[in-house]
């Protein structure tokens, strides 16, 4: 097998942070090459370099033994390198065919109108070649998620692709959809395309890939032929050895249940979910993206309409009508998407720290500026938020400090139940440890914590019990008092294979 793509000593830094250091490996043509690594290991940075989104600080790439230096995603596509991202980017109101050739629609020479007959012909030829059975005249929005993903792949392949990157394509798919995706990927590989397959899931890697490369903390750790490697070896490579060091230990006594959710159902999101969170306890809530984890937190927080079931929070009976009502029942919620749901981006750190809590620093609706400032300063100091002044806009802070600020907003004694949605996403290692410290601190002071996370090592190290979701149902709750639950056990539940 000849080499299709070669990374040679790729290094990339952002500010002072090293995202990739001296990464080198080869990808053979006509194979599936899996890339694994934890969040922050450098997978997506490497793929963005491959796609021409970033340029490396040093190092080079060779494509079919010629130098390859894409300046933009457009450049990369012209060279035959395409990426299908996790988030789908089809225009829902246009047809499948229009989506496939978006930006490159065949047009008549004089008037510039779209030649629909040619468009249909091209699309049909492409779909035939890829053995795709999707109606090309349907609107993209009417397709299932799996079909949309295949249309995206088809779009990537409509320009003679040599390398195709699939970024966690199965995260949003059901098992049956995954198997049809795999069949499709094999057809591609047989035609000579090199597929880079990014995934967390061991099963998929062993089923689909010929080769697997592990990245950790921006460095290339290993490249194995899948046939010669064990799962245990891959996990060791992925996780490294200093696993326990970054998780501070917690010493809390678990008390009465503060939050009880009983047979909670929200139409089309999740059904019949029952769980308790006790004082001093951290309950992990995990599962694949789209399995309904975030919806549960939002439902408890009064932000998702509940069709059946009940909630009890510190004696108050829910479901709650609004986030405001949930706050009054001592519930705090830190959302997953900081920029979209957490911050007033252009406003100051001070305003962001006191957002929604100005009552504490005001009389008769008039803010006492001195006490607002004092509160903000106390929060910033206590939680070691590094900032360039309380009045500087929050978007100048680093991701880790932003996240600490977002959590700090809710660290007030009135909140006994804390819902954290991916509290360490996009945060560097140092800030992660501090956030774990914050969580432990809260639990030790008797708060009940529900922590949603996709990072299994974090879930296993931090949570007293682990609830796993599968397709909108609670697949099981694992007792993790001795921190001994394995990733495999969680994943089995998360993909709905076996019931405990």
């Amino acid at each position: 097998m000849s080499t299709r793509l070669r990374f040679e000593n790729i290094t990339k830094t952002f500010g002072g942070v090293i995202a990739l250091r001296n990464v080198s490996f080869d990808i053979a043509q006509g194979t599936v090459h899996a890339i694994v690594g934890e969040n922050g290991a450098g997978k997506s940075t490497l793929m963005k370099i491959l796609a021409g989104v970033y340029q490396p600080n040093s190092g080079s790439m060779r494509l079919d033994d010629t130098p390859y230096q894409p300046r933009s995603p457009h450049d990369a596509m012209q060279s035959g390198v395409s990426i299908v991202h996790q988030e789908l980017a089809l225009v829902p109101h246009l047809t499948v065919a229009e989506n496939v050739y978006l930006g490159r629609l065949p047009t008549t020479r004089i008037l510039g109108t779209v030649r629909y007959s040619a468009l249909r012909r091209n699309t049909r030829a492409l779909f035939d070649r890829l053995q795709l059975d999707i109606p090309i005249g349907a609107s993209a929005g009417s397709l299932s998620v799996a079909q949309q993903q295949m249309v995206e792949i088809a779009r990537a392949l409509s320009l003679e692709a040599r390398v195709l990157v699939l970024d966690e394509p199965s995260a949003v798919l059901t098992p049956r959809e995954v198997s049809s995706l795999f069949k499709f990927v094999r057809t591609l590989v047989n035609s000579g395309v090199a597929v880079l397959y990014i995934s967390h899931r061991m099963d998929e890697i062993f089923e689909l890939a010929e080769t697997v490369t592990v990245l950790r903390d921006g460095a290339h750790i290993s490249t194995h032929a899948v046939a010669d490697v064990t799962r245990a070896q891959l996990i060791r490579d992925t996780v490294g050895h200093e696993l326990s060091a970054q998780f501070p230990t917690r010493n809390s006594t678990i008390g009465e249940p503060l939050l009880s959710v009983n047979a909670l159902t929200a139409a089309r999101r999740f059904r019949n979910v029952s769980l308790d969170v006790h004082a001093g306890e951290v309950l992990g809530l995990t599962g694949l993206v789209g399995s309904g984890r975030s919806s549960i937190a939002r439902a408890i927080f009064g932000d998702v309409h509940i069709t059946a079931g009940s909630i009890a929070a510190c004696g108050a009976a829910g479901p709650f009508r609004s986030p405001r009502a949930a706050c009054r029942a001592h519930i705090a919620y830190v959302p997953e998407d900081r920029k979209r749901e957490g911050f007033l981006l252009h406003r100051s750190l001070r305003e962001n720290l006191t957002l929604g809590h100005l009552k504490d620093v005001s009389q008769a609706g008039v803010i006492n500026r001195r006490s607002e400032r004092a509160t903000a300063r106390t929060l910033a100091n206590r939680h070691r938020i590094k900032h360039g002044g309380l009045d500087a806009p929050i978007n100048r802070l680093s991701g880790g400090n932003q996240q600490k600020a977002l959590i700090a907003r809710w660290l007030r004694d009135q909140y006994r139940i804390i819902l954290l949605d991916e509290p360490t996403r996009g945060v560097d290692v140092g800030a992660k440890a501090e956030i774990y410290g914050l969580i432990n601190d809260l639990a030790q002071r008797g708060a009940a914590i529900l922590m949603i996370s996709s990072e299994l090592p974090e879930v296993i190290a931090m949570c007293d019990r682990i609830a796993v979701m599968y397709e909108g149902r609670l697949a099981g709750i694992l007792d993790n008092a001795d921190r001994a639950v394995t990733q495999e056990r969680i994943m089995t539940l998360a993909v709905g294979e076996v019931a405990t």
């Binding site: 981006l345 005001s362 008039v366």
Partner: protein, 332 residues
């Protein structure tokens, strides 16, 4: 070095409003041989901008939430007619009581119509542009219906003071017109509310990131509703003063005011995307437009040209805002 320049440019852009106003006043003074700075003329400019500026403070609050209100002009007409009808009916007993009742009617009616717009905007998730466009037509029609299209006269003569009178005339002479005093009071109230109260901060939060505001336990709907109510009430106040200026309640007044008011807000540096804006900026924006109009009059520039100039000023203000945003993104 580059960083320092960017910092300097940003500070200049951020503080651009007063600078522009002062520069404008100086150049206008020079170009009119000092005619502009004559005391009577300055008072005149202030009086000319006072009505629309008063409403502009309410509009600023609405625009900061990310909304817009096209119904303000029609509301001035509607509340003016309603107040005039009340004053005519009650004027025989006591002029003072009649004016008080008329004013109360105008403010409550204005606030009520604002509340209706606000409820639809906040609860039904319909774009404010459409809601208030409908409110604009309905209120204008209602004004015409109330009085059969005829101006309402026969008001108590004391009402003239509201539109044409001067405060403390015995002490300071004709230097502080009553509508200008009202404008300054409304300015102070709105500036205080926006900067110093929980409600004001809620308004900014809603416009800056509605989702984050809601998830922080802020009542987004209440904030949205209230800005429309307040603006409606201010329109009622102006409706009453306008009766005093004309000595009649006229259903055809204040046509196109919504656009002049929005222009003052935008020239004052408030972003139409919501989340940022100041009452002081709006006051200065209204003054810039007022000074320009006045200067063009003094220089005998043709009326048609005045519109072109005003349009260019609005466009420049919007460009400055866009430039500021780009610069902020780049220096982050």
């Amino acid at each position: 070095m580059k960083k320092q320049t960017a910092f300097l440019v940003r500070r200049l852009l951020a503080a651009r409003m007063p600078v522009i106003l002062v520069a404008l006043i100086i150049s206008v003074t020079l170009m009119t041989d000092g005619q502009f700075v004559q005391f009577a003329n300055i008072v005149n400019v202030l009086r000319q901008v006072s009505f629309e500026a008063t409403i502009a403070f309410g509009m600023t609050a609405i625009i900061i939430t990310g909304g817009i209100d096209l119904s303000v002009g029609s509301l001035v007409a509607l509340t003016g007619v309603a107040a005039a009808l009340v004053m005519r009916a009650t004027g025989d007993f006591s002029p003072g009581l009649a004016i008080a009742l008329g004013g109360l009617t105008a403010v409550v009616l204005g606030g009520g119509v604002g509340a209706m717009s606000g409820v639809v905007v906040a609860w039904c998730a319909i774009p404010p542009f459409i809601v208030t466009l409908a409110a604009m037509l309905i209120a204008r029609g209602a004004a015409l219906l109330l009085c059969n299209g005829q101006p309402v006269d026969g008001l108590p003569e004391q009402v003239l003071f509201l539109g044409r009178g001067f405060v403390f005339e015995d002490v300071i002479g004709k230097s502080l017109p009553f509508p200008v005093l009202i404008m300054l009071i409304v300015y102070a109230l709105f500036a205080f509310t926006l900067n110093r109260t929980v409600f004001g901060r809620d308004v900014v939060a809603v416009g800056s990131n509605e989702e984050a505001a809601r998830l922080s336990g802020i009542s987004v709907r209440r904030a949205k509703l209230l800005v429309y109510v307040l603006t409606g009430a201010v329109c009622g106040l102006v409706g009453l003063l306008h009766d005093g200026k004309l000595n009649v309640g006229d259903p055809k007044v204040a046509e196109m005011w919504e656009l002049n008011v929005i222009a003052a807000v935008v020239v004052g540096g408030t972003s139409l995307f919501g989340g940022r804006g100041t009452m002081t900026g709006t006051l200065i924006g209204a003054l810039i437009i007022g000074v320009l109009n006045n200067a063009l009059n003094l220089m005998h520039v043709e009326h048609f040209w005045q519109k072109v100039v005003l349009g260019a000023v609005i466009l420049t203000a919007a460009l400055a805002d866009a430039g500021l945003r780009t610069l902020e993104r780049k220096t982050e």
